[in-house]
């Protein structure tokens, strides 16, 4: 394999990525890129980021051998990278801290964010409180209903949560509205983008901040089992937790990288959020060129997933490239498979996973039985499931 070094100077991962934004915002993303490149290599910035991750987030997150689950499933051993144990309960805080530190250095006192499941919104509201910044979170009205506990958390943390009523009233519409805010308040505002997508430098920057996951795992696995895992499995909506754990493993060619998209009611049904698995047409949305779920006229179609955090028609550009060059594989897990995995982890390990992470877990449970029991699957347990109580209860016909 040739040396893997992406993106290029214009933010391209092969044909993907780029900087497809309206002119008003181009100088803002240029400035962001310039500042990020300065601070990325600044020892003081790096030390500050490391300090926050250790003392505020609680890193490193442990890796846990899910023995009873592995025994129940049979075959390969399932290990979990416990991002659910981070402060605020998901991997999103890693990136939110990094961007907030950058915002502070750039003198921005107002931060905005989009959120789907609410985890990135909570992470952003948290760091805004931590650093004394004004915080506005855009959230689809549909998602506000399915993720009520997170909406309350954001408000407790002092953020203003703005319901977005346009379009499908989910994550993509929240992104549109956050972009509209940014274009209006570009001088005062830092957009803390939640996933490894959007215009350059976001896909690179979010990946870099999330790589702490993979960098830790790459040291932890040999300590635990004397070698690297056979496969690393992570769920993919925009794909920030996945790229964060995949990227440090790219050079370990014997480690399979498996991204798990939201299969919704099944790829064949059309009601899913799996652009990579379904081989969606390449298109442009939210500042980057990626595999994108759209109709024959280039209109973005409504997606479906049980998990709000994966309910997005696009995907980060680096995943598009990793698919094309074959370094990572992408598969889909349906709603009901994710729910079974959710139940299994609760019952066999005493861990309530986020519905997003349940997709990754479900795929591990699907392939483990076909593998020898000395094989090791490392699942990125990207978040905890407390926020999903209402959704799961409703699906089980229970009123809380």
């Amino acid at each position: 394999m040739q040396k893997y070094d992406f993106p290029d100077v214009g933010g391209h991962f092969g044909q993907y990525g780029g900087i497809y934004m309206a002119e008003t915002l181009i100088p803002a993303v240029e400035e962001l890129r310039r500042q990020y490149l300065i601070f990325r290599d600044d020892p003081e910035f790096k030390a500050e980021f490391a300090y926050e991750l250790k003392h505020y987030v609680g890193r490193p997150s442990p890796i846990y051998h899910a023995r009873r689950l592995s025994e129940y499933v049979g075959g390969a051993q399932i290990y979990l990278k416990r991002e659910d144990l981070n402060h605020t309960g998901a991997h999103k805080i890693n990136n939110a801290i990094g961007q907030a530190l950058l915002a502070r250095r750039m003198g921005k006192k107002r931060v905005i964010a989009e959120t789907g499941a609410g985890m990135h919104g909570v992470a952003t509201a948290t760091v805004a409180a931590r650093f004394g910044m004004e915080c506005i979170v855009y959230m689809g009205a549909e998602d506000i209903q399915r993720q009520a506990p997170n909406v309350f958390r954001m408000k407790l943390l002092g953020a203003t949560v703005v319901p977005v009523e346009s379009g499908s009233r989910t994550l993509k519409d929240a992104c549109n509205e956050a972009i509209r805010d940014w274009v209006t308040n570009v001088d005062s505002t830092f957009y803390i983008f939640g996933t490894a997508a959007g215009p350059h430098p976001y896909p690179m920057m979010v990946r870099d901040f999330q790589c702490v996951i993979g960098n830790e795992a790459r040291v932890q696995m040999p300590e635990m089992i004397g070698r690297q895992p056979d496969a690393v499995i992570a769920c993919v909506g925009g794909g920030s937790n996945a790229i964060g754990i995949f990227h440090p493993f790219i050079e370990h060619e014997s480690v399979r990288l498996i991204g798990v998209e939201a299969g919704g009611h099944g790829i064949g049904s059309g009601q899913h959020a799996a652009p990579l698995t379904a081989n969606a047409k390449v298109g442009v949305l939210h500042g980057n060129k990626v595999y994108l779920m759209q109709d024959e006229n280039g209109q973005i179609v409504e997606t479906h997933s049980i998990s709000a955090g994966l309910d997005y028609p696009g995907v980060g550009p680096e995943h598009c490239l990793l698919k094309d060059i074959g370094r990572a594989e992408y598969v889909a897990i349906n709603d009901d498979e994710a729910l079974l995995a959710f139940d299994a982890l609760c019952r066999f390990e005493g861990i309530i996973p986020a519905l997003e992470s349940s997709h990754a877990l479900a795929h591990a449970m699907k392939i483990a039985p076909g593998m020898d029991n000395n094989k090791v699957l490392l699942v990125n347990l990207s978040g905890r499931g407390d926020k999903d109580m209402n959704t799961v209860a409703r699906l089980k016909g229970i009123t809380l």
Partner: protein, 267 residues
């Protein structure tokens, strides 16, 4: 000479400013678009900007978002929009038409196919909000081969160095966005705009249009005093939204005539 260039040259000789109204194609429904276009020309429009509806109009405020939604209810596609331009061209060979929209419908059709069909339909210029110069070199040259102008936005945030870069790719005219914001946002600051337009003129001899925030005769007149063209978007779309089907063509025409006389009055 392109149709856009010809119109601006004639206006310059007459010491007049161009009036460029915007409507979304297919709003309120597809059968009204061509009559609205003819009506606007009859009332004094020099060039027409036709919005291509898109499911995720990130740079637009609520007014134009709703127009896109109304058009998409009728499944108006980029192909349909080109058909409307072709129909308009059967009766009007002179008035330039600029398509304004987002990248993805063009990506889905393919650059070459789009450029060929657009030229055959009589499209004169294309403004794609989320194709900044950084990503448009290829698209601009494909359009140029079909003699279609590439219209680019400049914004208050655009630095001098970027202006230089943008005007090298642009043709037809430059569209200066008068304020940081989405379409239909608050009022523009005429003094600020005048300074910026003057600074853009140091980099290009292309005509400069100003839009965003032109809401009535007074703002149109003020903008006409400092720019070569006045672009009116959300205010037009609002007129479409607030009119019954029976009255929409007449109402939009009346608004264009009002803006026209306001702009001409100062000269």
């Amino acid at each position: 000479m392109s149709r856009i260039q010809a119109v601006f040259e004639q206006l310059k000789l007459a010491n007049r400013r161009a009036l460029i109204p915007f409507i979304t194609a297919g709003d309120p429904n597809p059968q009204f678009t061509v009559p609205l276009m003819h009506g606007m020309v009859a009332a004094g429009a020099d060039l027409i900007e036709l919005g291509v509806p898109f499911s995720d109009p990130m740079a637009d405020g609520p007014t134009i978002q709703r127009a896109s939604e109304r058009a998409l209810k009728h499944k108006v596609s980029l192909t349909n929009v080109l058909g409307m331009v072709a129909e308009f061209r059967r009766q009007d060979a002179r008035t330039p038409v600029v398509l304004m929209g987002y990248a993805n419908p063009i990506e889905a059709m393919g650059h070459e196919v789009f450029a060929r069909l657009a030229a055959a339909s009589g499209v004169d210029g294309v403004l794609t909000v989320d194709y900044p110069p950084e990503e448009s070199a290829g698209f601009v040259s494909v359009l140029r081969q079909q003699n279609i102008d590439s219209i680019f936005l400049l914004a208050p945030t655009t630095t001098d160095a970027r202006v230089e870069h943008v005007v090298r790719l642009a043709s037809g005219f430059i569209y200066y966005v008068s304020l940081n914001g989405v379409t239909g946002a608050a009022n523009l600051d005429v003094d600020d705009v005048a300074l910026k337009v003057a600074s853009i003129r140091r980099h290009t001899s292309l005509p400069i249009g100003v839009g965003f925030g032109v809401r009535d005769g007074a703002t149109a007149r003020a903008v006409g005093a400092i720019a070569d063209a006045v672009v009116v978007g959300s205010r037009m779309v609002q007129e479409v939204e607030n009119s019954s089907e029976a009255e929409v063509v007449a109402n939009v025409g009346r608004l264009v005539a009002e803006l026209r006389s306001a702009i001409d009055a100062q000269l």
